[in-house]
């Protein structure tokens, strides 16, 4: 049963990667990175259950935190061209 979920997650990860390379716009790639991160979190959790290793869940929790922060950092960088101090009126606004 967990094997089925693991295989499904693997396929989903490869599809996410395919979207990452194919994605025309930058935001398709940000979307694919976010999707890949979620799949990885769940995949680590399922692998933890498959190998009877409950400590995998700490890794998956950590990866969920990093994935979210990473997605927001990518978006912020491409919006303001800087991660640090943000100009009041971002020039990207339409």
């Amino acid at each position: 049963m967990f094997a089925i979920a693991a295989i499904a997650l693997l396929i989903a990860m490869f599809l996410g990667l395919a979207r990452l390379f194919k994605g025309p716009t930058l935001y398709d790639r940000a979307l694919a990175v976010n999707a890949f991160g979620t799949f990885t979190v769940l995949f680590i959790g399922v692998m933890g259950f498959l190998n009877q290793r409950p400590d995998f869940l700490d890794i998956s929790l950590l990866y969920a935190l990093i994935n979210f922060a990473g997605t927001i950092a990518i978006l912020k960088f491409f919006r303001y061209r800087a991660l640090g101090d943000v100009p009041q009126k971002p020039e990207g606004d339409q």
Partner: protein, 111 residues
């Protein structure tokens, strides 16, 4: 008897969660437009993730693992849609519009 029900229920949750994840992942690939792909991603983030985590929690029974899984589930439940919104907002701000998007100005011209 009761354990068997929980076992069967966790089976159903995990399998359906895996199916939802696959559907969402296929949707991310096949949908034509960035905005419809965003919808497919949110299917993954919400339905697939919650079902899978619930299935694992049932599988783990009442233990410390279930608490960890609950924390992961709640966290992903909150940050999933937030990240999707951030991506959508960033795309919208940079001028990327859905095809059927009529601006307020255009509506006045058409009307």
């Amino acid at each position: 008897m009761q354990a068997m029900i929980i076992e069967a229920l966790s089976w159903i949750f995990i399998i359906s969660g895996a199916i939802f994840l696959l559907i969402g992942a296929i949707g991310i690939i096949r949908f034509p437009d960035f905005w419809s792909r965003l919808h497919a991603l949110s299917v993954c983030d919400s339905a697939g993730m919650i079902l899978l985590v619930l299935g694992m929690m049932l599988q783990a029974g009442l233990s410390f693992i279930t608490i960890k899984l609950a924390i992961i589930g709640v966290f992903l439940f909150i940050t999933g849609p937030t990240a999707t919104h951030a991506v959508a907002n960033a795309a919208f701000m940079s001028g990327n519009r859905p095809k059927s998007y009529k601006d307020d100005k255009q509506e006045e011209e058409n009307a």
